[in-house]
């Protein structure tokens, strides 16, 4: 009953249970944090705007992105993944989400930033509906924990539009 094997087994089971409990509590403690984030995106320039040979509209633009996401970080946060997506409606599609730029914030010190960038991923429509199109720019963030549940949220910024003519 009290052999070496049994004691080892009991010790291992106990250790694993405690570890699992601690992971669970670390993940639950994220709920105590109520983040308040702010962000602003300005479109500085439409670099070019054309119809691809395949018939899809494509646009290249330059943005100014500034954000303060420091409040997202807790002791259980490994990193925050952020991206800016253009979101719009077309007659064919009820929702189009096109990711334009993304980044990984590894630590709280880097969570307040300002960047001037052109789109990292191609802004291509399914079809040619982009002329004069009104769209939203949304800053999404996904909080990756050291362990446990992942969180995501976003800030929607409205009132952007593309030019009426290709250039």
């Amino acid at each position: 009953m009290h052999s070496f094997g049994y004691r080892l087994n009991a010790l291992l089971t106990f250790a694993v249970t405690i570890l699992a409990l601690m992971c669970g509590m670390a993940s639950l403690s994220d709920n105590l944090n109520t983040p308040s984030s702010s962000a602003e995106i300005q479109i500085m320039n439409i670099n070019w705007f054309q119809k691809q040979p395949q018939g899809n509209d494509e646009v290249s633009l330059t943005m100014n992105i500034s954000a303060d996401l420091q409040s997202l970080f807790t002791w259980n946060t490994k990193q925050v993944f952020i991206f800016v997506a253009a979101e719009y409606e077309t007659p064919k599609n009820s929702l189009n989400q096109v990711s334009l730029w993304d980044a990984i914030i590894p630590a709280k010190e880097h969570a307040k930033f300002w960047i001037h960038t052109s789109n990292k991923y191609r802004f291509v429509d399914q079809g040619n509906n982009l002329r004069g199109k009104k769209f939203n720019l949304t800053l999404h963030w996904h909080v990756m924990p050291k362990t446990g549940k992942m969180f995501a949220d976003k800030l929607v910024m409205t009132g952007y539009s593309l030019p009426e003519e290709y250039r």
């Binding site: 094997g5 990193q79 989400q97």
Partner: protein, 180 residues
């Protein structure tokens, strides 16, 4: 002869009743594991509720050997979510992030493009020849939770099968020779 003799004696002393009890308790362990797995399948709605990350394409978020908990709900797929998908002609599912979504007005079908956080380009090179978008039926689930390192156990066992057999053998011997 001491230790070997004892072991042989313990084999000899096995009664039919004891053998049956051990078979039943072994069966209980196997079935309860199966029950937990199937229950997880029902709760999460995903055919594999837990996956092990096998590549470094999502680093530094997910490393090789981390495990992910999946959930498959009716909710529409949106950009930014981390999904697990199967590409036609590839056996191993891939865990990557959605970067583009186009959802049809009339049918509600979605066209999805994915990319690994640590990869330079999007996933069109990984898809089947000529495939530009993923559809709903390719996607097995979205990642909702994360646990580091635990997946190494399965990685080691699949890559070094000998360790798996030793482990199973040792456990089996323990069950057979234990006396209560």
């Amino acid at each position: 002869m001491g230790w070997i003799g004892d072991t042989v004696d313990s084999f000899k002393s096995i009664q039919i009743r004891q053998l049956l009890t051990q078979a039943v308790s072994l069966g209980m362990i196997v079935t309860s594991a199966l029950i937990i797995w199937k229950a997880l399948m029902c709760i999460t709605g995903s055919e594999s509720p837990v996956v092990v990350v096998l590549s470094g394409s999502m680093e530094p978020g997910f490393k090789r050997g981390d495990i992910l908990f999946l959930h498959m709900s009716k909710d529409p797929i949106r950009a930014g979510e981390i999904v697990v998908f199967n590409v036609d002609g590839r056996e191993i599912p891939i865990v990557h992030r959605v970067i583009k979504v186009h959802e049809r007005e009339d049918t509600g079908e979605v066209d999805v493009l994915t990319k690994g956080d640590n990869n330079y380009g999007d996933d069109r090179l990984l898809y089947a020849q000529g495939q530009l978008w993923l559809q709903r039926h390719h996607i097995m689930g979205r990642a909702v939770g994360f646990l580091p390192y635990v997946g190494w156990v399965t990685i080691i066992m699949t890559e070094k099968p000998i360790i798996k057999y030793i482990l199973i053998g040792a456990l089996g011997l323990l069950v057979i020779t234990s006396k209560d």
